[in-house]
């Protein structure tokens, strides 16, 4: 288990999420793929926090936790994104009786 192997796993998770969010028609699938991408980013941040020396570590040893603080913020933003995203999905489903992104064309014209 090294920094590189951890980051490669995180990159694979991120790219699977990227493919899913670009190539699926169901809007819930897109939301789930975005969650996969968030997880890849979080994994990278925490791995970097463990292995890489941050600037100014001599003065403040607590700087090694900065990556974990960022991950906490990302988890919070992901929770907000899911709450709002599912609200939009429900509004869309109520209007068009469908969660297919190919049919979501109300904002066109």
């Amino acid at each position: 288990m090294t920094l590189e192997s951890m980051m490669i796993v995180a990159a694979i998770l991120f790219c699977i999420g990227l493919y899913g969010s670009l190539a699926r028609r169901n809007v819930l699938m897109v939301l789930m793929s975005i969650e996969l991408m968030f997880n890849g980013v979080n994994l990278t941040l925490v791995a970097l926090a463990k292995y890489v020396a941050p600037a100014g570590i001599e003065e403040n040893i607590a700087a090694v936790l900065t990556g974990q603080v960022f991950a906490v913020f990302i988890i919070t933003v992901a929770a907000a994104e899911v709450a709002l995203g599912l609200g939009i999905v429900f509004a869309m489903y109520r209007n068009t009786e469908s969660v297919d992104l190919s049919n979501a064309t109300e904002l066109r014209n």
């Binding site: 288990m1 920094l3 590189e4 951890m6 490669i8 796993v9 990159a11 694979i12 998770l13 991120f14 790219c15 699977i16 999420g17 990227l18 493919y19 670009l22 190539a23 699926r24 028609r25 169901n26 819930l28 939301l31 789930m32 793929s33 969650e35 997880n39 979080n42 994994l43 925490v46 463990k50 292995y51 890489v52 020396a53 570590i57 040893i61 607590a62 090694v64 936790l65 900065t66 974990q68 603080v69 991950a71 906490v72 913020f73 988890i75 919070t76 929770a79 907000a80 899911v82 709450a83 709002l84 609200g87 939009i88 999905v89 429900f90 509004a91 489903y93 969660v99 297919d100 992104l101």
Partner: protein, 196 residues
Amino acid sequence: MIFQDIVFWMLAVLSIGAALGVVLVKDLFRAALLLVVVFIAVAGFFVLLSAEFLAVVQVLIYAGAIAILIIFAIMLTRDVQHGNLPNRYHIPAATLAAVLLAVLIAVAVDTKWDLLGGQDQIKAQAVQTSAIRTLDSPGDLVSLEKAGFATEDERTAAQQAGLADLLIGDFVLPFEAVSLLLLAAVIGALALVRPR
């Protein structure tokens, strides 16, 4: 060390396999369940990286709250019979993802990371284990001395180093901003789904 490697590879296979399942499986409901498997595997990675607090948060928020919300949405929208169809951009999307993956792996392997040295690694380990609580019992003092915190100043610094100290100290402005964002998002979601 060898035990950690075994656990790492098991988690890597589990998380990547389940993530592939999420985007490729036909049934949306199964995809959501596989997403829970990915979340729990990532929580296992966090434990391996000595970020226990984040692992607990991951299980509570992702595997608990977010997964339940998504499963609720899948059941309420009743569009399950169409399944998980690809759109017409799925070949360019796969190419883009593969190219990005190659670039990311090349960057991760080629970059010369400024890694923590041996002594620093032990110190960082001590600080990361104090992430949840503040070290103050006599046993903690012994372990801090073993970790190489020689002077009194360094020891107090490590004792106070915790996620809570950073969140309420250095990062208090982003912390308040993100709480406001969460409040706004929840109110916005309520306004969106309110019956007219």
